[in-house]
């Protein structure tokens, strides 16, 4: 079809690829089995384990966890996509999360987000080439009275102005609030070997733009 | 050349040659009648008319003829085949037969020796008028046989209607012809023509204007021309008596109609308008017998016919068609009584020997016209009429009440 259609039948997981879930990860997941009535119920803890270990949950990881839990991979995909917490592709050292809920939006959240994007040169849910920064967008950072809010890793910045963004990102204080790393974690944040590591998402969110 | 003239001196040879020439001329004329019919109708309707085939569309008749010849000649399965084939031929032959006795150009002295050699007429049976009536009467067969052979109820109805119409108008026509015969005492057409020439003789139209008019009307009816074209009647009877005809057969009917018009015009001209004669033109007098005079006479005759043809067309593109009851009423209640009165009056004049006295004849005609006007104007019967005022004559009321 010449008109644009995304071919979803194309496999994204190489059948012969080496498993990304190590024995340690599998073991940890399996240790949850007795706690839950069904294997399907272990999905959320399992995803947490994987994200902690790998930093993100790629297509192959999804497939492998589905096999492990004896559910359809689509169910894993469904669950992961529901929670913004889960990353399906590598995450940077610092995750810059911008709030897009209505209070922040009204107070200039969109300008802040644009400023972040401009400064880092990447789009939403992307990671800079050097693996330093990722941008995320959240529904609410619970600082509605002091919007616009911006979170760098675990550090909250309130009443952010677009002009402050460069200084704010350069702030060394952010580094104190690093992402918690699992003891299972043994890989680099960015897998440089995988150029195609950017996993195509189906989502094509055209942000609502000012009609003016 | 001399040999040719020598041969032509024989009346038989001359007649044969004349008939061939006239036949060719008539057929061409008939074809061009169709052309002029279309042209004149166009002009009268502010149009241009046929102008695509040849200059001014003059080759249109050829194209039409070619078309008639080349189109598929359909004989429907249900028709009476022999009659179906015969009828168009009959219509045309009966139309052409009349030409045999038309006096085209009087006496001719072919070699200029002062002795009249031949008559410019195919045949002069002496009782030409009777011949003409007979042949004219046969013409109805073309229509009725055609309508019958069609084996189509609409065509048959049209044919029956046309027959009734022709029979009805034959009577006033015959009476009018009788008037002329009574006035001249002649039956030969050339004799009748010549009786309108020379010192003290006038064209019969001068003596009998009313008769001339009635003759005209009956002529329209006899040739099935508007306003008497009951036989065709496209509106109510599909195509009339020739509904099932196509191609050449239809063309023959078409030609027959125009041939009929030409012969009819010639006939009226001979009876009332002096044939080839024009007063005060010396070589159009019977005394002029040279070949050139003959040709001039023939042209005059042809011109008169042409004028008549124009009249036919003019009327056709002006007047609407009569309703059938009106048409019958016109003949039986209008023309026939007037003719009978004229007939009675001329009989009286004949007895008094005043049949060529202009004062007597015109006076009679004038009284007659006055009478007609009074009757028509007050009683509302005659020519036209609506269904509603049919019973305005006193004696009719009684009949209807019953």
């Amino acid at each position: 079809m010449a008109w644009k259609t995304i071919d979803r039948n194309e496999p994204v997981v190489d059948a012969g690829a080496t498993p990304v879930l190590t024995e340690a990860i599998r073991g940890k997941i399996e240790s949850f089995f007795p706690r839950y009535p069904t294997k399907r119920a272990v999905l959320l803890p399992a995803l947490h384990v994987i994200q902690d270990a790998l930093g993100f949950i790629g297509w192959q990881a999804m497939k492998e966890v589905a096999d492990l839990l004896e559910i359809h991979p689509s169910a894993v995909f469904d669950t992961i996509s529901f929670y913004t917490h889960f990353w399906t592709k590598p995450r940077g050292e610092k995750v810059v999360t911008v709030c897009r809920s209505i209070s922040c939006e009204l107070l200039g959240g969109r300008e802040v987000l644009e400023a972040v994007k401009d400064h880092l040169g990447i789009g939403e849910h992307e990671t800079t080439g050097d693996g330093k920064y990722s941008i995320a967008v959240e529904e609410c950072l619970a600082g509605c009275d002091h919007g616009p809010c911006l979170l760098v890793n675990e550090r909250m910045h309130k009443c952010v102005k677009a002009a402050d963004v460069p200084a704010l990102l350069a702030d060394a204080g952010n580094a104190d609030h690093g992402l918690p790393r699992s003891d299972l974690f043994d890989g680099p944040v960015v897998d440089d070997d995988r150029d195609d590591g950017v996993i195509a998402s189906t989502s094509d969110v055209v942000e609502m733009q000012d009609s003016n | 050349m001399d040999w040719l003239i020598e041969q032509l001196k024989d009346q038989l040879v001359f007649s044969v040659v004349l008939s061939l020439v006239v036949f060719a001329a008539i057929m061409t004329a008939v074809a061009y009648c169709i052309y002029f019919e279309r042209k004149i109708s166009a002009w009268m309707q502010d149009r241009v008319g046929p102008n695509r085939v040849g200059p001014l569309g003059l080759l249109q008749p050829m194209a039409d003829g070619a078309k008639f010849l080349l189109k598929e000649d359909i004989i429907p399965a249900f028709v009476d085949k022999p009659l179906f084939v015969l009828a168009p031929a009959f219509a045309l032959i009966m139309g052409l037969a009349g030409f045999a006795i038309l006096p085209w150009g009087g006496m001719v002295d072919l070699d200029g020796d002062g002795v009249v050699d031949v008559m410019c007429q195919v045949a002069d049976p002496g009782v030409g008028l009777l011949y003409l009536l007979a042949v004219g009467g046969m013409a109805v067969y073309g229509v009725v046989v055609g309508g019958w052979a069609n084996n189509n109820k609409f065509a048959f109805l049209a044919a029956m209607r046309a027959t009734a119409q022709m029979l009805s108008y034959e009577i006033p026509m015959a009476l009018v012809i009788l008037l002329v015969v009574m006035t001249t005492g002649q039956l030969g057409l050339d004799d009748i023509a010549r009786s309108q020439m020379g010192e003290g003789n006038l064209w019969h139209v001068c003596h009998h204007p009313v008769a001339f008019f009635i003759m005209l009307v009956t002529l329209f009816a006899e040739t099935n021309r508007t306003p008497f074209d009951m036989a065709e009647a496209e509106q109510e009877l599909i195509g009339g008596y020739h509904t099932e005809y196509s191609a050449l057969k239809f063309g023959l009917f078409f030609l027959g109609e125009y041939a009929h018009m030409i012969i009819g015009s010639g006939f009226v001209i001979v009876l009332f308008l002096g044939g080839w004669h024009l007063p005060w033109v010396s070589f159009l007098q019977p005394e002029a017998t040279s070949v050139w005079a003959m040709l001039a006479k023939m042209s005059v005759f042809a011109t008169k016919i042409a004028a008549f043809l124009f009249l036919f067309m003019w009327v056709r593109w002006t007047l609407p068609r009569f309703r059938f009851d009106q048409l019958m009423r016109l003949s039986w209640k209008g023309l026939l009584p007037v003719c009978l009165m004229l007939f009675a009056y001329v009989t009286v004049l004949l007895y008094l020997g005043r049949q060529t006295d202009l004062m007597w004849t015109l006076g009679g005609n004038g009284v007659l016209i006055l009478l007609v006007l009074i009757v028509a104007g007050t009683m509302g019967v005659p020519v036209s009429g609506r269904q509603g005022n049919l019973s305005t004559l006193p004696w009719e009321g009684a009949v209807r009440a019953r």
Binding site: T5, P11, H72, P73, S74, F77 | -
Partner: protein, 540 residues
């Protein structure tokens, strides 16, 4: 039976069904997207909300509750009072429609669903003519999610019927919902396409134009289609289907609701298995062998020829040498007419039932369930009327046999005059049968495609495809299901029923109902069906 009051009208309904179902069955036209009687209830579209009377928390007096309730999720209870005709309900419907259409591309002119789309229908009814949305619409991609199916996410209203179908009916779970809230879409796990044997039904359950059948994609606008109620000939389940045709060509098949047989579903095998109907290779003209010459006799003269030739054979070899092979692809009526004709000519003639193709195993859905709990079964018997021709053969009694018996007997030279009926979409003639029948005196073959037998036959008659037939099939469970003719036979052919009707000595036009009435006089099984009511209408 529970009694409930809807819009001041008391109706009786089955216990425990949702109010929405009760209202729909009683004739209310309550708008809804996510509710489907064959699927679980999620109450996500909020279009079917109703007002309900509840006791006041303090005074315990009955009164209209201040909030609206989803009628699809509220089971009926005796004495319940609800209403759909209130302003609040209408307000909700309008608001819902506005939301549904907020990001809708409004591409009805190129949407295959247009004409049978619930978005269109409800938009006409409850929608506003103008959109208040002045922002740019959210555009979602079109996705190719399976060999037969396309997903246009921007037309989707997230009713999740398709996801629930994949989970609950086919049990294959290929479909999932990705993202959340306003950005949610239907998707598959990349590389694991929607290709289960029942996937075509997701297109049927989709109330809008989001899921599209590639087979029908852009083919015809649905308002040009004319439908005939039919029964699927794919297997002995006998699913009730609707044949949508246009210009005398089948365009698509759709399932009809038929409780106890196929419910709301049909399998892809049946859905896409009609292509052979328009095969150019089909036999469309009768063919008669005269010596070495083949000629195409006029249909009018065929009856005489066949009768004469059979009588000749009976005189020559005796009535026992005559046999007829009734195909399980024939309708019962046609089989009855043919058997009647043969038995009248030759009372000792053998009536054999035809070849019954068996392929693979019975497949039960949802996947992994056993045959007793199955919601849908694709059977291994790949013919629609095996039971029907058996019934007819039993009725006529005397010398009957099954297909294997027929092949054996034919091999032994037991027959001299045989009428063989085929009508299969694939080659079916066993070699042994072809060789043994090649030797006999007279062979009439009625089939759709050329085979080893048609080459040997003295008379070859074109057979109809099932869409060209009118009659009834008897399914695996013995249920007699009448069906209509949907399209005309190809040029030159004649409907089997019509031809056999004349041959069996009847005059006039053949119709299934007419013959069924005649059969009902003799056969008990057809007595009820002769005046049975029609199948319930299709329910989405």
């Amino acid at each position: 039976m529970a009694k409930i009051t809807i819009d001041n009208q008391e109706i009786e309904c089955r216990d425990g069904i949702p109010v929405l179902q009760a209202a729909l069955e009683a004739g209310w036209d309550v708008p809804h997207y996510c509710y489907h009687p064959g699927l679980s209830v999620v109450a996500s579209c909020r279009l079917c909300l109703m007002e309900m009377q509840l006791p006041h928390p303090k005074t315990r007096e009955m009164g209209w509750a201040p909030k609206l309730f989803p009628s699809c999720q509220t089971p009926v209870k005796d004495g319940m009072v609800v209403r759909f005709d209130s302003g609040a309900v209408e307000q909700n419907q309008k608001a819902c429609m506005e939301y549904f259409l907020l990001n809708h591309p409004l591409d009805c002119p190129v949407c295959d669903q247009a004409g049978e789309c619930h978005l269109q229908d409800y938009s006409y009814k409850f929608g506003e003519s103008e959109s208040r949305m002045h922002d740019q619409k959210q555009v979602n991609p079109k996705k190719d999610i399976g060999p037969q199916t396309l997903l246009y996410s921007d037309r989707c209203v997230m009713c999740t019927r398709c996801v629930r179908f994949a989970e609950e009916v086919s049990g294959t779970e290929e479909l999932c919902i990705v993202n959340r809230g306003g950005r949610a879409e239907i998707d598959i796990f990349p590389g694991i396409p929607l290709d289960n044997p029942m996937q075509g039904n997701v297109v049927d359950v989709c109330p809008v134009g989001a899921l599209l059948d590639k087979d029908f994609l852009f083919k015809k606008r649905v308002w040009f289609l004319e439908s005939g109620d039919s029964v699927c000939p794919g297997c002995s389940t006998g699913c009730a289907i609707r044949v949508d045709q246009s210009d005398n060509r089948v365009q698509r098949l759709k399932p009809r609701y038929n409780p106890g047989v196929n419910e709301w579903w049909m399998c892809d095998e049946g859905r896409f298995g009609w292509k052979y109907v328009h095969d150019v290779e089909r036999v469309t003209r009768p063919r008669l062998r005269r010596g070495a010459e083949m000629e195409t006799p006029a249909w009018e003269s065929l009856g005489e020829i066949v009768r004469y030739r059979f009588e000749q054979q009976v005189d020559r070899h005796g009535a026992a040498k005559v046999a007829v092979l009734l195909s399980p692809m024939m309708a019962c009526e046609e089989a009855w007419l043919l058997a009647k004709f043969v038995r009248e000519l030759a009372p000792d003639a053998t009536i054999a039932t035809g070849f019954v193709p068996m392929v693979g195993e019975e497949r039960c859905f949802p996947v992994g369930c056993n045959a007793d709990d199955a919601k849908f079964v694709i059977r291994r018997e790949k013919c629609p009327n095996g039971r029907g021709v058996e019934l007819v053969a039993e009725h006529f009694g005397g010398s009957t046999c099954d297909f294997d018996g027929f092949v054996t007997k034919a091999g032994e030279g037991a027959f001299e005059a045989v009428w063989v009926v085929g009508g299969y979409s694939e080659e079916w003639v066993p070699k042994a049968l072809a060789t043994s029948l090649a030797k006999i005196e007279m062979l009439v073959v009625q089939d759709m495609f050329e085979s080893a037998l048609t080459g040997e036959a003295e008379l070859v008659l074109p057979a109809c495809a099932w869409v060209e037939r009118d009659g009834s099939f008897v399914n695996h469970a013995g249920l007699i299901q009448p069906f209509e003719r949907a399209i005309n036979v190809p040029d030159g052919a004649r409907r089997d029923g019509q031809y056999l009707f004349g041959l069996a000595g009847f005059e006039g036009l053949y119709s299934g109902a007419r013959v069924r009435a005649l059969m009902a006089e003799e056969m008990d099984a057809f007595r009820e069906i002769a005046e049975a009511p029609r199948q319930p209408a299709h329910q989405h």
